[in-house]
Amino acid sequence: MRDAAIAESPWVRWLLIAIAVGFLALFLLLPLLAVFAQALSRGLGPYLSTFADADTQSAIRLTLLVAAIAVPLNLVFGIAAAWAIAKFSFPGKSLLVSLIDLPFSVSPVVSGLVYVLLFGAKGVLGPLMSDWDFKIIFAVPGIVLATVFVTFPFIARELIPLMQEQGSAEEEAALTLGASGLRTFLTVTLPNVRWALLYGVLLCNARAMGEFGAVSVVSGHIRGVTNTMPLHVEILYNEYDFVAAFAVASLLAGLALVTLVGKSVLEWRHGDELAAVRRH
């Protein structure tokens, strides 16, 4: 009975499992369940009619638009940063890596605030913006900027450690065999990091579509114009239109569930190709 010496007695084990399951059920699963229960509390009719509303539809469209701009931007940045950091050595590299993680340690509200200070009516570039008649704050460009800021590190931080671990021997071989730099990247590097890339995009997208604090500061909450889905949830909730608020929220919760499933599938099937980045 070698194992018995380093295992807890059965009742301790079941007690710990019960605490863990109970805690996760109470703090994580119950809120998730509450979203769907509240959304459907008056039946399917009122639930569905929320999505017929023009403001709800425009919030959904805006959220999709913002994610469709922010995610590709951060994808290109993530790939460029990972290439420079993982394949070359230069002074200040670790500083650069910490700076990339910076947005994670900034409050979402502050992430929005910095752009108001830059482009707002009383901001540094405010007069310039009004001369050019170009609105960033209380308009879609500001929402995109704030979203790019909060989702900035997601893809880079998945790629950097993995590409560092993989080294550059395969790329050097491809170049020796006469491949161009771009071809080497597309046929050697990209296939090696594709799952980590997808993993990063998944997390980046979830945050981009769900961001609230940063977007709330720069949006101005103009219904049908600068309202994203999370902001629309807030407006409906504050108007005591709970069914509609939870109906829109249920769509976002569905997105979270899809993200979790996709993330888990990637971890189970391609865990080794995500390497060191599997756990945050």
Binding site: R2, A5, L30, W83, F88, V106, V124, F149, A256
Partner: protein
């Protein structure tokens, strides 16, 4: 004489490599980082520095600001402590035991990372309101959670849990079980082994996870404002005060509070890095 020797030696920024594209990718990454992150943050600090240190101090010690900062930091610290206990139990159960539904539970831990904060906020408010599923159970005992600081605590526990679990779990999985066997062979009871051998090895990871959860909780906004009630001096958090200053177009006041919060975040970030260095040294690997 070789060609290399004929070329005057010059200082190079990047070590020579056969791979192309350094200039392009490094230049792009640095420009993008500067435009999106560094310059905007610098503007914030510059704006607040216009107040001078004593000006920032004056804003920080306004009674309402002080109360909000205290609420933010105290509830974040309490939530991080709660997560230290339950996060370690969850990580332990997920990495050590097999039971039906374990994989599902493992996936569920990341829910707070994936669920938009506003959704979490209204869901928690609905649950803990006096007429909600949990609130109505507590109401007969005169316990109120929603619209009190306890509500902020609940939201911050929700937000912070995955940070502790996901930092402790991999360390626990990599832990060499032979150490525990040695301890058992030498006559330690299971409880002694866990307390005196396993927990000290986990300590750096637990501290790191707690620091991460704390840092996130201090700045949290979306999940808190719906359940907090937002009463000045009682359940008002610092990020909300920034939003209110902005709505009054008091950019300087907002920047001052934001700078104070940034300074504290960076301090905790430095603490996290120091902790990770300690843990690497102790465990002998990255």
């Amino acid at each position: 004489m070789s060609v290399a020797a004929l070329v005057a030696p010059r200082a190079v920024f990047v070590k020579p490599s056969p791979l192309p594209g350094f200039g392009l990718t490094f230049g792009f990454a640095l420009t993008y980082l500067s435009l999106i992150v560094l310059i905007p943050l610098a503007v914030l600090v510059w704006r607040a520095s216009g107040l001078g240190l004593d000006g920032i101090w004056r804003v920080a010690t306004e009674p309402r600001v002080l109360a909000a900062l205290r609420t933010s930091f105290v509830t974040a610290a309490l939530a991080a402590l709660a997560n230290a206990v339950f996060g370690v139990v969850v990580a332990w159960v997920l990495s050590r035991y097999s039971f039906p539904g374990r994989r599902l539970l493992d996936a569920v831990v990341d829910l707070p990372f994936a669920l938009p904060t506003a959704v979490a906020g209204i869901a928690l408010a609905a649950l803990y309101a006096p007429n909600g599923w949990i609130g109505s159970l507590l109401a007969p005992f005169d316990i109120r959670i929603a619209y009190t600081p306890a509500g902020i605590f609940v939201a911050l526990v929700f937000i912070g849990l995955p940070f502790v679990v996901r930092t402790v779990q991999p360390v626990l999985e990599d832990l060499d079980r032979e150490v525990e066997e040695a301890s058992a062979t030498l006559g330690a009871s299971r409880g002694q082994t866990v307390r005196r051998v396993v927990l000290p090895l986990l300590a750096p990871a637990i501290l790191t996870g707690v620091a991460l959860a704390f840092a996130r909780a201090v700045g949290e906004y979306g999940s808190v404002i719906f359940i907090a009630g937002n009463m000045p001096f009682r359940s008002e958090i610092a990020p909300l005060l920034i939003v209110m200053r902005l709505e009054e177009f008091d950019y300087t006041g907002a920047s001052a509070i934001a700078t104070i919060m940034l300074a504290i975040s960076f301090a905790s970030l430095l603490a996290i890095n120091a902790l990770q260095a300690v843990s690497r040294r102790r465990l002998g690997h990255a």
